[in-house]
Symmetry: C2
Amino acid sequence: MKLPELADIQAAHSRIRPFIHWTPVMSSKQLNAIFGCELFFKCENFQKVGAFKFRGATNAVLSLTEEEKRRGVVTHSSGNHAAALALAARMNGVKANIVMPDNAPVVKKNAVAGYGAEITFCKPTLQAREEATRIIIAKMGATLVHPYDNYNVICGQGTAALELLSEKSDLEIVIAPVGGGGLMSGTSTCVKGIDNRIQVIGAEPVNADDAYKSFISGTIVPSVNPVTVADGLLTSLSELTFAIIRKNVDKIITAKEESIIECMLLVWERMKIVIEPSSATVLAIVKENPDLFRGKKIGLIISGGNVDFRKLPF
Amino acid sequence: MKLPELADIQAAHSRIRPFIHWTPVMSSKQLNAIFGCELFFKCENFQKVGAFKFRGATNAVLSLTEEEKRRGVVTHSSGNHAAALALAARMNGVKANIVMPDNAPVVKKNAVAGYGAEITFCKPTLQAREEATRIIIAKMGATLVHPYDNYNVICGQGTAALELLSEKSDLEIVIAPVGGGGLMSGTSTCVKGIDNRIQVIGAEPVNADDAYKSFISGTIVPSVNPVTVADGLLTSLSELTFAIIRKNVDKIITAKEESIIECMLLVWERMKIVIEPSSATVLAIVKENPDLFRGKKIGLIISGGNVDFRKLPF
């Protein structure tokens, strides 16, 4: 299994640069004082479609051959990756087909349709969604762009850390959230490629701790129906992301639900930016482990800002 | 009555520059598409204490004589101005005394106390608060720094527009919210001083439309117990702010409560930044009057981002 390297992430960044936002790195004296360390937030909530997912999707679309571009792309997702792939495809004149469960929230259907993708609805089971995807691939010859089990997607996600380190080269620790492991894979490959001495830590909800368990045990332990407020972190690692994480990540730390909610609110209140619960997980592990982080310069990958404001957890 | 001029605002900016944040100007393609114009948000929600008020308070503190600095400052407020004056005073080694109604929310008391100000509690009436303020002035010789009826405060508030126009010189319209008129006075003085052709418009909730009525009738018409979600815009104009606004402002437009709430949510959702309802008023008048703003380049002063997240209006 070929694992990505720093050069792949650098190449991805050159490729996607004209299409993405170079998002700001923000800091807050108040939060630094509260946690006793220097925090640098890489704000992918300001990325297009409101999440880092646009980086990976764009890199995947731009890496297609001309023939593949003509046939289009397909994915099954109802979250940020679906919107990201829809927009990345449209910006490059590529057809996108998104397989979604028919019970997906209307707001998500509208977002994806708004970016011009074709939506194929299916029953809300893994079987139904894989079957629907297979049919589209067979019929159109479309290329599957998996949300995280995809080399080009992983390289694209790593470009957020590349920008972060190009602005803040003296970080001692970089923390990213872990769901399926795409962001964590890209981030850790990038950070270790640039400076092996920088610690790379994954943050995961204790209620969806498959990466933690897999990392500790050395074998993939998938989450089974996890329930957490961090709804972007429900998915489990793939063979590829697990291999990359084992190689590059120093540690995975879990956070309690109440810490995640508290840290999300804290960032909204003090920094005046909207981050989603999955993003707050990175700050939550800092909060729960003060001895580990005291006095350090820490980069935090804020994965996104897509929140349902009518269902806030506080 | 001496009205401030552009040079006063420029001088204020040089004075306060080392203490304030030069806040970013943000834009959103999505919002531009929705409203059919080009919107540039001057984000004072990212200012210290979360509001433009820190500019005016800092300018007032820095404009004191050494003797006045030794005697300290006083104000009566339970809102952003209180926190702003407390921090501005502390950063300059000046004692601040804040008169607050004893029924002020605990979170506001804590904020002001957190910045090291002394708090004098009084009964929640105008009489009691003025009496308490008088006593402090008599006893300490402290200088009253009124939230808006103050020349130096007004000049400080105008520096947000100065930064905005230094970054975006081709604006055709600048909109600011109107409460007591401090921000509107500083903004309009600055904008008209730089380029008389730029239209300056005040935005006010229809439920607290004293400035609108005063502007139309040519005489101050105070609001009586106004009720609006835009809780930073409850106060009425003073003689000074009314004189400046009559001279420099082209138009005052009111917005309905539901537009204010809708626009606040829209900015949170699409721009991923937290703005307070008072700030959303500027966008709400754009929404309600599409013919007036279509195709224009518009600067919007976003006054602040201090929101009670447990009492959201949506």
